[in-house]
């Protein structure tokens, strides 16, 4: 059901657009910044719009990247592979956990739930050393498992999904069970489709975390060929921080790292809005 346009919506849209424009300044800046020639990069206060757009920044970045010992495409391949696997893994693992925690009662459930809640405060950077010990104890240094497995434990995703899964009516699951559906069928045919908005939301979140993550590359990967794009860009930038030429590359790299986030956000956020609009289940 869609409401007709009213004066309320009209006033809302106008004032809203102004505020939204202000909120989206960072995106505007990142995009414009990447195309600025050197003399514009150093203006203060920064200019949001580029005056004389140029592709020089990207040229410099690729020139620099082609001189590196490990080809640029290798970092890109690692990043894409890890991001894709982590996304699929987090969705599957978290939804499964949320299905059990959100719909059934069993021993230790309360304990597990409170551990999950508490671990939302968890910040990976504070426990770098113990994590390193565990990864190397399991012999996962320099493997893709070292990238993936720490990311699979995502209490935020599970916590969000529990909320959505618990809203699926019990009657629906009971009906499916009476019709002879196994837990796997219920899970794949009912739970996953009905929690699609939450899955889309955690996908956005997970992709952002994985794509920008440098911790696993820094701590668990000793071989350069196993490291990700985020790590490469980060080390490139920190090495060039004080040089004037570095700012050009930093601007271009900033855009390149930001674009995938933006694309994933647009794709998945659309899913959030589309899936639930026509289904009146609850």
């Amino acid at each position: 059901m869609r409401r007709r346009w009213s004066w309320f919506q009209f006033a809302l849209v106008t004032s809203f657009t102004a505020l939204a424009a202000f909120m989206s300044l960072p995106i505007l800046f990142i995009v414009n910044h990447a195309f600025k020639p050197q003399n514009e990069l150093f203006l203060f206060p920064p200019q949001f719009l580029v005056q004389n757009p140029t592709l020089r920044n990207f040229e410099l970045l690729f020139l620099h990247a082609s001189n590196a010992t490990v080809p640029f495409t290798r970092y890109l391949f690692n990043s894409v592979l890890v991001a894709a696997l982590a996304l699929a893994g987090v969705i599957l693992v978290s939804t499964m956990a949320a299905y059990a925690l959100g719909k059934y009662r069993f021993h230790f459930k309360g304990f597990i739930l409170s551990l999950i809640t508490l671990s939302l405060m968890f910040a990976p950077e504070t426990v770098g050393i113990p994590r390193y010990l565990i990864i190397s104890g399991l012999g996962m240094n320099d493997t893709y498992f070292g990238h993936l497995l720490p990311l699979l434990a995502s209490p935020v995703a599970v916590f969000l999904l529990i909320g959505f899964v618990s809203q699926i009516p019990d009657e629906l699951l009971e009906a499916a069970k009476i019709d002879g559906a196994s837990h796997l069928t219920i899970f794949s045919r009912i739970v996953i489709p009905l929690s699609a908005p939450a899955i889309a939301t955690i996908s956005i979140l997970t992709f952002q975390t994985v794509w920008g993550d440098i911790e696993t590359s820094t701590l668990f990967m000793q071989e350069e060929t196993m490291r990700t794009l985020a790590f490469y860009v980060n080390s490139l930038l920190s090495g060039l921080q004080n040089s004037v030429a570095g700012q050009n590359m930093a601007a271009a790299a900033g855009l390149l790292m930001f674009l995938p986030n933006l694309i994933i956000f647009l794709i998945f956020q659309k899913r959030v809005l589309e899936t639930m609009v026509h289904s009146g289940i609850k």
Partner: protein, 325 residues
């Protein structure tokens, strides 16, 4: 779905009772086996990469450790020192964090809900663009902070705010916004509110989608006249899990905040500790003074603090069944 019901029986023999309870327990475990199987992949990673490392780090709180020489076990001395001698912690970090969290937590939460709801009122086609605009500061991260706010509050006369105030004649000389202890906290709060449209905001938007549209029709028939009533009687009760989620996320977000003062001032410790939060205190001891044992003790205190704040959020939004279970 009615698993886990403990049966209480009075038996004369204690051994028999224990045995019966054990067999019942094992039978229940076996009946719920699929639950554990569904949980297993998550739980294994969760234990290995979060719980055990955190536990190991928490143990450090009982030691004196500088990262180089050996560990020295000192019992609860760190905690005693923290609550009796650490003046900065007691007079700056705690009050600052409480003040900051009380304003930014509920403030950002209400803002996120208000704007999620407003966006939800928009026609479907353009909703995405508004969502993107509001989510942009969280997505862009540190870049956003430095280009918008540092430039705005720059202490010289070209900073946007100073420039505006000077040209209007409201101030006579530029205000050093970010280095002045009087202003820093307020600016930190303003900036944090600006980036508070993060994952909780997205969850609320998704939650709004799941509210059954027929409820609104039913509500109108039952005499709901204004949109405000709709929000309170239909929207909010229908999206309790999402409200709980974002409440917890905003508690976590505000208590974990600490990088804002660092990014705004460019210094690890803010001028005369005016923006000093508990996280800054932890970073100070861990990465500047290398007293890792003491820093762990402070982290444990912060963790407990956040746990109690979350219990409070559960009281507000938790489902009735969950509190009983």
């Amino acid at each position: 779905m009615n698993a886990g019901l403990a049966t209480h029986r009075t038996t004369t023999s204690r051994g028999a009772r224990v045995r019966r309870k054990t067999t019942l327990f094992i039978r229940q475990l076996r009946r719920d086996l699929f639950c554990y199987l569904f949980l297993a992949p998550f739980l294994i990673c969760f234990l290995a990469f979060i719980i055990i490392p955190v536990f190991m780090a928490a143990l450090l709180g009982f030691t004196s450790y500088d990262g180089f020489s050996g560990l020295r076990f000192i019992g609860i001395d760190n905690y005693i020192a923290l609550f009796t001698q650490d003046i900065i912690f007691l007079t700056k970090a705690i009050p600052n964090t409480v003040f900051f969290a009380l304003l930014v937590g509920p403030g950002g939460y209400l803002l996120a809900f208000a704007f999620a709801w407003l966006i939800h009122q928009l026609p479907l086609r353009i909703r995405d663009y508004y969502t993107l605009a509001f989510y942009a500061p969280s997505m862009a991260g540190g870049v956003a902070l430095s280009v918008v706010w540092i430039a705005a509050f720059s202490g010289d006369r070209v900073g946007y705010v100073n420039n505006f105030l000077l040209s209007m004649g409201w101030i006579e000389s530029p205000v050093i916004w970010l280095q002045d202890p009087k202003h820093l906290m307020n600016i930190m709060i303003l900036v944090s509110l600006w980036i508070s449209f993060s994952v909780g905001f997205l969850a609320m938007l998704a939650g709004l989608q799941t509210v059954n549209k027929e409820l609104y029709e039913a509500g109108r028939i039952d005499g709901i006249s204004s949109r405000l009533q709709e929000v309170f009687y239909i929207t909010l009760p229908s999206m309790k899990p999402q409200m709980l989620f974002s409440a917890v996320m905003s508690i976590v977000g505000t208590l974990k905040a600490g990088s804002i003062s660092v990014q705004l001032t460019g210094m690890p410790i803010s001028p005369s500790y005016s923006g000093h939060l508990i996280i800054n205190h932890i970073d100070d001891y861990a990465f500047i003074r290398f007293e890792l044992g003491y820093a762990s003790a402070v982290s444990v205190v912060l963790l407990l603090l956040s746990y109690f704040a979350m219990r409070f959020a559960y009281r507000l939004f938790g489902e009735k069944e969950e509190t009983r279970a």
